[in-house]
């Protein structure tokens, strides 16, 4: 088939795609709100201008980094909810366990690399950077794989029997949340203990530990900037995967109309298991790559589950809009970080305040219907 290719023009594109127009509008609204909030804060902090610039830029960088990772975690939550209609209360626990998996796999990989009896010792030698990068990649992929297997296993052996019975699903996934949290506490202790790579690493080295220093107290941890790009890269991969692979298209179609996908010849139960693996894997991945920043902690399960709910509601993903998770994550990540720098006593409750406001003025969230 030959189709005439037009030259790409952003204006035409926006005119032809109401969807893109809407997304752009929401992005603009969020940007304006952030600028507005920061201006108010600037006015309040006018007498310590230097301090304001530092705090504002730090909160933006940290907020973006957190948002990207929250987006990865919540997109897993959203996929499971969207396709399988299961509200996965164990998702925060998947995230938390992913953190511990990442932490453990990193240290184990490092130990293997440092073992003089094994050939890796000669490959890396004294090159700590290469060793750390490799261990990081292994830990991220390993945590993803382990959590995907656990998630897929839970779906296959338990949830599969309960489709169409939402109450039982909720009870079951809440149960799994407690079980996973308890298991984590048995191994790693209660939530007072956070595990970071740096003091626990045998060589006391992690490949991104430096800071970008722009002078005047304007310092950014390199790792957090790295997280922004990592999050964007994974999100981009996912986006391509959903548009360009058959299974991605099947998942999207299934979120719209499961029965029809099945009536066209797709084994929907297999797709459910795959989506559970994907969702749990994304939770594991985001948990694992956040360890160098926030650490692995058995208390994260509940905290991040609640973030997931807030993100879904704020973004409007409960109306089936995938992009809703992105905007929701952006709002939650940025607001947590901005308040933690400017209004610290609000840090723990700001997301609920925002959720309440959004539920009242726009019950469908940012992207859903009013």
């Amino acid at each position: 088939m030959t189709m005439q290719r037009k030259r790409f023009s952003p204006r035409d594109y926006l005119e032809e795609n109401p969807q893109a127009r809407k997304i752009l509008r929401i992005a603009l609204v969020i940007a304006l709100i952030i600028i507005g909030v920061l201006s108010v804060l600037a006015a309040i902090n006018i007498y310590s201008w230097d301090g304001f610039v530092v705090k504002a830029s730090k909160s933006l960088v940290n907020g973006l980094a957190l948002s990207m990772l929250l987006f990865l975690m919540v997109s897993g939550f959203f996929l499971i909810f969207g396709l399988c209609d299961v509200i996965n209360f164990a998702h925060g626990a998947f995230f938390m366990l992913g953190g511990f998996m990442g932490f453990t796999i990193y240290l184990a990989t490092e130990a293997i690399f440092l073992d003089p009896a094994l050939p890796f010792y000669f490959i890396f030698g004294a090159n700590q950077f290469a060793m750390s990068v490799t261990a990081f990649i292994v830990s991220a992929l390993g945590a993803t794989a382990v959590m995907a297997l656990i998630g897929g296993g839970i779906e296959f052996f338990t949830i599969r029997r309960l489709y169409g019975n939402p109450i039982a699903q909720i009870l079951l996934t809440v149960g799994f949340m407690f079980i996973i949290t308890q298991i984590a506490e048995i191994f790693w202790g209660p939530s007072q203990f956070s595990y970071f790579i740096i003091p626990n690493s045998q060589i006391n080295y992690f490949f991104i530990s430096g800071i970008f220093d722009f002078g005047g107290g304007l310092q950014f941890a390199v790792y957090r900037i790295f997280l922004i790009f990592l999050g964007l890269a994974v999100a981009g991969l996912m986006f391509i995967g959903f548009r360009k692979t058959r299974i991605g298209l099947q998942i999207q179609a299934g979120i719209e109309d499961k029965e029809m996908v099945e009536a066209l010849g797709t084994d929907i139960r297999k797709l459910f298991t795959i989506v559970f693996m994907l969702g749990a894997g994304l939770a594991g991945l985001s948990g694992a790559v956040l360890v160098p920043w926030i650490g692995a902690n058995s208390g994260h399960g509940l905290t991040y589950l609640i973030y997931a709910f807030v993100i879904v509601v704020v973004g409007g993903a409960h109306y089936g809009r995938f992009e809703g998770t992105f905007f929701g994550a952006l709002v939650v990540g940025l607001s947590i970080q901005i308040t933690s720098y400017f209004i610290p006593f609000l840090e723990d409750i700001i997301v609920f305040i925002i959720m309440a406001i959004i539920l009242i003025i726009k019950p469908g969230g940012l992207t859903g219907h009013a």
């Binding site: 088939m1 189709m3 548009r243 719209e256 099945e262 009536a263």
Partner: protein, 240 residues
Amino acid sequence: MKNLLEIQNAHVYIGSFYILQGISIVVPKGEVTLLLGRNGSGKTTTMKTILGIYPPREGKIVFNGEELSNLRTHEIVNKGIGYVPDTRRIFGTLTVEQNLIVSMRKGGLKGDVQERLDFIFDLFPDMKRFYKQRASALSGGQQQMLAVARALMNDNDLLLIDEPTEGLSPLLAKNLINALGQLKEFATILLIEQNFRAVSKLGDNYYIFDGGKIVHEGDNMTELIADKARVAQYLGVSIK
């Protein structure tokens, strides 16, 4: 084998509702069989029963000599059944192209798509124009073409087509019925259609449903149309 599909005394419940009360249908190979009757008489449920969405509590469904009763929907469909549902149910968030790719049971993103597309574009030349568009942006007629095209992405022996002309203008409906006439060469068709006069040339056999039972069957559409009392009683259309 003369009959491609046989439904033998099927009793179907949806929840606690007793919907199909012992229906038997034979769909001969290479012919168009019509299911007629008022809304709520059990026609769509019959199709969903064939597809295994509402499996029969009693009775048998035999397709190509194989019993389908205990199979799951995707397994049944993979035996060679294409489904065009009522209200179209296209995937609005996907483009037309993506809708068709999702509907292919075998092959990857490229693979055999092209060969199928040539066939579909022959049938619906208009589709070339909106092939890259998002399906939710299509008009009713275009969506219906897409819904039919989805069922043609695979080698299907049997097509289940549910009210294809619903909500279409008379001209579009006529074009669509002509297209279905062309499909007759390639597959056996089981067709639900409210406007039975429009498909009277197409249909080889018909069954009339009422209250979950088959009240009349036959293979002469002209006779049926002439039988004004029966038409008024079961098909609920005014006699002009």
